[in-house]
Amino acid sequence: MNGTTRSWPLWEVFIRSKAGLDYKHAGSLHAADAAMAIENARDVYTRRMEGVSIWVVESKHIHASDPGQNDSMFDPANDKIYRHPTFYDLPDELKHM
């Protein structure tokens, strides 16, 4: 099986732990195609009842933000406390916010 590992693409695995909850990134693995990626994910990441549903996506399709730009990307949100709902005083009549 020389070279096999190198030629199989990498996939990112997302697991939904319970119906209704969101999918969480579980990790990555190698597989020849999507069907094998899902089965590999089942064997690698759901052996202990961790999931009820699996998404896989080839890692090359994930586009990520640049950590080097974190200052300009994320820090500006730091002092915008008015973007949080708790910033606002609510009338007492409003019970279910």
């Binding site: 590992t5 089965e39 064997d43 690698v44 052996r47």
Partner: protein, 271 residues
């Protein structure tokens, strides 16, 4: 329940599970290494349920009958000495001639093609057998069958997909997959042979008459081989058999030597 019949089922599961466990740490890629180990543990879990049932059935026999079930000295001595035989004793203290697994289960892994071909043949057989067993008049057997079916369904999918991948892959993988199918084919006939002593149980509806499964097994396997662009080997009249009556190929002795070494060398050892 007939002990020899239960052991036939249990030994198939234990020996195949052990064979697959030999891949642990040696799989071609990490993900498939884990897949095979998972499958191996499914087989061991099924073996355990069946050995427990066999041990219970053995325990219910009168003493003089107990002495005739096995030809394994260590086990017989322990039973005669009043030791209650349990599932571990059945797995670790029976000699080769008391094992009743089919010859196919003990065939070596050889390479990935042989491993998945052997898997396909046995998984397809198990899927037919355990599906039918769910309707057994024996409630304990029916319950084991029901639990096992989900696992077996996955095993069959896994082995089928690999046979198709390799058969319909490159020229080399096709050739090697076909070779594995051809070489192991001679052992498939034994799956459908019913030893005389279990025929009466089949007639009573307690166990499945495996001869009735041949057509559905052939349909499953033929379909997978067709998708894999592989030829179905001709089924001759000659059937390689003997496992169900305790006559094995040279491979089983080596498996048991490794599997049973610890309990044989240090009887009663626990860890």
């Amino acid at each position: 329940m007939n002990i020899h019949y239960l052991l036939q089922l249990a030994d198939d599961a234990l020996i195949l599970g052990h064979r697959l466990s030999e891949w642990c740490g040696h799989g071609p890629v990490l993900e498939q290494d884990i897949a095979l180990t998972n499958i191996s543990l499914d087989h061991l879990g099924r073996a355990r349920s069946l050995y427990q049932y066999a041990a219970d059935s053995y325990g219910e026999l009168p003493a003089e009958q107990k002495a005739t079930v096995f030809q394994s000295m260590q086990l017989n001595n322990m039973a005669a000495g009043g030791h209650k035989i349990d599932e571990d004793d059945l797995a670790y203290l029976r000699d080769e001639w008391d094992f009743r697994n089919v010859l196919l289960a003990e065939q070596p892994n050889t390479d990935w093609a042989y491993t998945v071909a052997r898997g396909l043949f046995l998984d397809a057989f198990n899927s037919c057998l355990y599906a039918a067993m769910q309707g057994s008049h024996d409630v304990r057997l029916a319950a084991i069958a029901e639990k096992s079916m989900k696992e077996i369904t996955y095993h069959l999918r896994w082995s089928s997909e690999w046979v198709i991948r390799l058969g319909d892959g490159t020229a080399e993988s096709h050739t090697r997959m076909q070779q594995a199918v051809n070489d192991l084919w001679v052992y498939t006939g034994e799956l459908f042979v019913m030893p005389t002593e279990t025929k009466a149980l089949a007639a009573a509806g307690t166990v499945v008459d495996t001869a009735t499964l041949r057509q559905s097994w052939t349909d499953i396997v033929t379909e997978v081989l067709r998708k894999a662009t592989l030829d179905v080997p001709p089924t001759g009249t000659w059937v390689q058999q003997g496992g169900k009556e305790g006559r094995h190929t040279e491979h089983l002795g080596y498996i048991l030597a490794e599997l049973q070494y610890m309990q044989r060398s240090y009887p009663g050892m626990k860890w």
